[in-house]
């Protein structure tokens, strides 16, 4: 190749390479060696590459900044709460004014609360989301319902607690019980389930529905055979969020079903129960002379409990995602 013939090609290559080449790639590393001088990085190339590196670092930094508090909190809890852990801590009830013994009844109580709350909110929330995503026409009523859901999500938990007290404990006369507390928690977490489920359902391509409908399938057959099987993993994400929130909430259960101390494990949904969150709140702020490592130990157990409950559903979700079909 002579210089005369190479020149126009080279300038054309520079024009073409403007957008998508990285500045610091060595000349000739693309398209073999015979065009050694053809591809040189332009000023625009270098600028794009610099910007690209800048944003890469920015987002990486943000992720690290987000992870740091989690690591710090976990570290603090492990260091200060770890010494409280023992077999007895997880298997026995508190003794001697909460200064000895363990958290077993609170652990069991929180499990009860979470499970009953899930049983109430998941079917209700998923059904509502299916209606909103698959059936509802975009009219005033639908918009009103959506607005109500967003508002429900914005209501402070103490307000939910008072509502639960008025509605479930007093009006429906469930008394202070697991049922009343769990229903309160369920109402509080419903918006999370509804919104996340609705988003997941709407992520299923519309073309699947069209194809299904044109085969003569009803809406329900379409939902059952095509939409739901492909959104289960997303629905579980909402459930995971709900579990985390349910385990940690104190205010809603304080008025409706959780008690500071009961020596008995709950036998049914109409019993009162101890709960981890309330237990932590009390021994950390109200009860005197609690050994300092115990509140940290309870907090660590609370987090571990969320992790265990979540990892079960995360595992299930990974399994389902592996089966996702498009």
């Amino acid at each position: 190749m002579t210089n005369e013939t190479e020149d126009p090609v080279a300038s054309a290559a520079r024009l073409v390479s403007g957008g998508d080449r990285v500045a610091d790639s060595a000349p000739g590393d693309q398209g073999g060696n015979q065009g050694g001088a053809l591809f040189t990085a332009t000023t625009l190339d270098r600028k794009n590459a610099r910007t690209e590196r800048g944003y890469h670092s920015l987002f990486l930094l943000m992720s690290i900044v987000l992870i740091l508090p989690v690591v710090a909190i976990l570290g603090l809890l492990i260091v200060r709460g770890g010494p409280a852990f023992s077999w007895e801590f997880f298997t026995e009830a508190p003794r001697a004014q909460f200064t000895e013994g363990g958290i077993f009844p609170a652990l069991v109580g929180t499990l009860w609360l979470v499970v009953v709350a899930l049983l109430a909110s998941v079917p209700l929330g998923v059904a509502a989301a299916i209606y909103l995503s698959e059936y509802a026409k975009d009219n005033a009523l639908t918009r009103l319902i959506n607005l109500a859901i967003i508002n429900l999500a914005g209501v402070p938990s103490i307000v939910h607690a008072l509502f639960g007290l008025g509605a479930f404990v007093l009006f429906f006369d469930f008394g202070t019980s697991i049922l009343a507390a769990s229903l309160t928690l369920a109402i509080m977490t419903l918006p999370v389930v509804i919104v996340s489920t609705r988003e997941t359902l709407q992520a299923v391509p519309q073309s699947f529905r069209m194809a299904c409908w044109s085969l003569g399938a009803t809406r329900w057959q379409t939902i059952r055979k095509v939409v739901l099987p492909n959104s289960v993993s997303g629905i579980l994400t909402g459930v995971i969020l709900e579990v985390s929130r349910t385990v940690g909430e104190t205010a809603p259960v304080m008025f409706t079903g959780a008690v500071l101390f009961t020596p008995f494990l709950p036998q049914g949904v109409l019993d009162e129960t101890m709960a981890m969150s309330l237990h932590l709140y009390m021994i950390a702020t109200v009860i005197p002379d609690v050994p300092p490592e115990v509140p940290y130990g309870v907090a660590l157990s609370l987090i571990l409990m969320v992790l265990v409950l979540n990892s079960a559903s995360i595992g299930f979700r990974v399994y389902l995602r592996g089966k996702k079909k498009w």
Binding site: K137, R209, S214, L215, K225, K325
Partner: protein, 256 residues
């Protein structure tokens, strides 16, 4: 040519389709006869796909789509069908881009049969094999019926959707530019299949390829900017015997 009422499969009367202010089709009136291939040609945005959607009442599922006038299917106006699922199950549709439902090849083709109440692996398998054979796909997929439909190549997926439409045993088959995602060889094979299918069902073929309409259609309608310019015998139309010069211009490729 005089046709009696029984021979008319679709009777379109003063049909207009709007999306809000946008008029997709205006004042369309024509008949589609039983066991013919009825071609619809025309440039983009001329109302072809909207017409297809109106036939199987997809307007009900499409926000903002309004249909006025009437389409009679077997002499009964589609807007008066109370059970839309029964209507749709009699009409097979093939979309421009293949939509493999997220299930196995077998399930894709067996789906409509299951909806119809066909039960049992053997009965379903028989339907699946018959439909896949007719769609010229059986030999390529017979050993992997349990793999996902969406893993097939574009052309194979389109044949899968044709097999799925056939599994409905439709009286009317609507093909909306089926060959967009299909290679020429496969297109030819499908065209041969369509010629055979004509014995059993009525076919409405929307196509961008005027040559395809010429090869397949008994009669052809020319849609342009939401108007039905003319409907006529395909042979005559392609010989230049058109009522409107715009049709000839389009066929000869002078615009559009």
């Amino acid at each position: 040519m005089v046709s009696t009422a029984s021979e008319i499969k679709l009777s379109v009367k003063d049909l207009s389709i709007r999306y809000g202010d946008h008029v997709a089709l205006e004042g369309a009136s024509f008949d589609v006869r039983e066991n013919e291939i009825f071609g619809i040609i025309g440039p983009a945005n001329s109302g072809k796909t909207s017409f297809i959607r109106a036939i199987n009442r997809m307007d009900e599922m499409t926000p903002g789509m309004e249909v006025h006038g009437s389409i009679e299917f077997n002499g009964k106006a589609v807007e008066s069908w109370r059970n839309l699922y029964a209507l749709r199950s009699r009409i097979g549709v093939v979309f421009p881009l293949p939509v493999g439902l997220p299930m196995s090849i077998f399930e894709n083709v067996a789906f409509a049969a299951k909806l119809r109440g066909v039960k049992g692996k053997d009965a379903l398998g028989e339907v699946v094999e018959r439909c896949l054979r007719r769609a010229a796909l059986w030999d390529e997929v017979k050993d992997r019926l349990d793999s996902l439909g969406s893993l097939l190549s574009g052309g194979q997926q389109q044949r899968l959707t044709i097999a799925r439409a056939l599994s409905q045993e439709p009286e009317l088959l609507l093909l909306d530019e089926f060959s967009i995602a299909v290679d020429p060889v496969t297109t030819m094979r499908i065209e041969e299949v369509l010629k055979e299918l004509k014995q059993e069902m009525t076919i409405v073929l929307v196509t961008n390829l005027t040559q395809q309409a010429q090869r397949l259609a008994d009669r052809t309608a020319f849609f342009l900017e939401g108007q039905v310019v003319e409907v006529g015998e395909t042979k005559a139309m392609f010989k230049g015997q058109t009522k409107d010069p715009r049709t000839t211009h389009y066929i000869e490729g002078r615009f559009g």
